[in-house]
């Protein structure tokens, strides 16, 4: 087997294993750490696809910023195993039904999706490089890009508004 294919299988195994461990772990901190591992293996997949920029940004944004905030919150919640509320049978059945439905939908979507055919002869392997990505984003997809940035700005203003101290509120 050629090395990149075997590496792909190894990475996929690791990805699925750590993704399963996110769900299975009893300790929420362990779940978060497995989720970070999942992001790393996904970045490995991006590198295999020669999309280095996407790999680096995935690490910086998800592992470097969002998961740190997750970890923050979970560390402060101080969840212990004995505090875990017991789940009733009803919740368990409901969770199983919802989870199963999502699985069926995903599987159906996967079966219906036609993977676009590509020709390895004239395939441009440099398409994931940052220069090409930049040209694509700022030329062909400029409007969606700007709209997404406005959406982020609105979210940021909202977060600042929620976190702002009201006039007359106690000063810590």
């Amino acid at each position: 087997m050629n090395p990149s294919v075997s590496f792909f299988y190894f990475l996929s195994f690791l990805t699925i294993l750590s993704a399963v461990m996110v769900v299975v772990s009893r300790n929420p901190i362990h779940s978060v750490l497995y989720l970070i591992l999942t992001f790393f293996t996904l970045s490995g997949h991006y590198i295999l696809l020669n999309a280095q920029f996407l790999a680096a940004v995935n690490i910086i944004v998800y592992a470097g910023a969002i998961m740190v905030l997750f970890l923050f919150v979970i560390m402060f919640l101080n969840m212990k195993q004995d505090h875990e509320e017991s789940k009733t049978n009803l919740t368990k059945v409901a969770a199983t039904i919802v989870g199963g439905t999502v699985f069926v939908i995903l599987f159906g979507a996967y079966r219906k999706t036609a993977i676009p055919a590509f020709n390895p002869e004239n395939f441009d392997s440099q398409v994931g490089m940052i220069e090409n990505l930049g040209h694509m984003l700022f030329r062909d997809y400029l409007l969606p890009f700007e709209l997404a940035s406005i959406l982020l700005l609105v979210a940021m203003v909202g977060a600042v508004m929620l976190g702002k101290r009201e006039i007359g509120e106690r000063h810590f």
Binding site: I59, A65, V68, L71
Partner: protein
């Protein structure tokens, strides 16, 4: 990639790894010597000549101390904390260009672990991961003070990462490349970025002080408020790893500063030296010696910044925590955005005018 290329890369990475460790090791010695010099005393002078064996003695002491794990600590994460801190500190040195190329039998060997077109993003990503070692270790200790210290360190790091990233964007706008090798090559001939980006440099160096948890931003360790900070429960070599990771981070950030703002291995008059050497010693030996001089210059710059870190540590008192957060969010981030706007305007409007005037 054939086998020799692979072996050469492996050797380069190994050399970079060993160099990073040795420099970090002797930084601990230099720190105490500089402290001694500034406070008008001797510093370590018992182990070896001028105390040069002091780092080895410290390492021996750290290794032979009792390796203690608190009873209610999360054992695996308690061990993973310092390991992660060490790992993330060492990762970043892979993309730093230490010099130009060596010529061996007509083959060019680049003095850089990995030349990648996202070099600076890679460094930024590794820096962003640096908080995990501290957070995991602080939480796993199962101690309120450790947890508070870890949270403090992590919030400081992620706050200053924002301003650091924004100050880097101005550099990227000028060089229009993310590759560190390319950024250094563009600074050839005294086109050092410090002359074009003085404000960006100030923001960057302030943020790197905060990222390394150095004085005046060493709030994660605060004896009066937090006992020992995130490593309260740590002892022996695990504590050693945390402290050592700080020195590695210091070296890496000094190297990055010299690469980004001070031209890396470029020095004034290097073309003249290069032509003299190649004409005197032939294109191969002369080229190699010129490269070695460049590498020495690079290390000189990096070591100067390590000294600068120490100089600041023994000169400036520390901030209060709210001052630190105000500086990060309310001063440095707006300044960095202002710097981006100025740089963008200069690249768009000023640069064509000046180039037209010069020609």
């Amino acid at each position: 990639m054939d086998l020799t290329e692979f072996l050469v890369k492996t050797a380069t990475i190994f050399v970079v790894f060993v160099l990073t460790l040795v420099i970090a090791m002797y930084s601990t010695w230099a720190e105490r010597k500089v402290a001694g010099f500034i406070q008008d005393r001797m510093g370590p002078n018992r182990a070896g000549w001028g105390g040069l064996l002091q780092p080895l003695a410290d390492a021996g002491k750290m290794f032979f101390k009792e390796d203690f794990i608190p009873a209610l600590a999360n054992k695996w994460l308690f061990i993973a904390g310092p390991s992660l801190a060490m790992l993330t500190a060492l990762l970043a040195s892979a993309v730093i260009p230490f010099g130009s190329t060596f010529r061996i039998n007509g083959h060019e060997v680049v003095l850089q672990g990995v030349e990648s077109n996202i070099g600076i993003l890679y460094v930024f990503g590794v820096v962003a991961l640096g908080v995990y070692g501290i957070m995991v270790g602080g939480w796993a200790s199962n101690n309120k003070f450790s947890l508070l210290g870890a949270i403090r360190a992590a919030s400081q790091n992620i706050s200053y990462e924002v301003a650091m990233g924004l100050s880097l964007i101005a550099i990227l706008m000028m060089s229009s490349s993310l590759s560190l090798g390319e950024i250094v090559a563009q600074q050839h001939g005294m086109n050092w970025n410090i002359f074009y980006q003085p404000l960006g440099f100030l923001i960057f160096i302030t943020c790197s002080f905060a990222e390394c948890n150095r004085v005046p931003f060493d709030l994660p360790e605060c004896e009066t408020e937090l006992v020992g900070g995130y490593h309260t429960e740590y002892g022996s070599m695990k504590l050693g790893f945390y402290l050592f990771a700080e020195y590695i981070n210091m070296f890496v950030s000094s190297a990055i500063i010299s690469v980004l703002y001070f031209g890396g291995y470029n020095y004034p008059g290097m073309d003249w030296v290069y032509s003299q050497l190649t004409s005197a010693l032939g294109s191969e030996t002369g080229h190699n010696i010129a490269t070695l001089i460049g590498t020495a210059v690079f290390f000189g710059k990096a070591l100067f910044f390590i000294f600068f870190y120490m100089w600041v540590r023994w000169t400036i008192p520390r901030f209060r925590y709210d001052q630190l957060m105000n500086l990060g969010w309310k001063k440095l981030i707006p300044l960095a955005i202002f710097n981006i706007i100025i740089t963008g305007a200069a690249v768009l409007f000023l640069k064509p005018v000046i180039t037209a005037w010069l020609n």
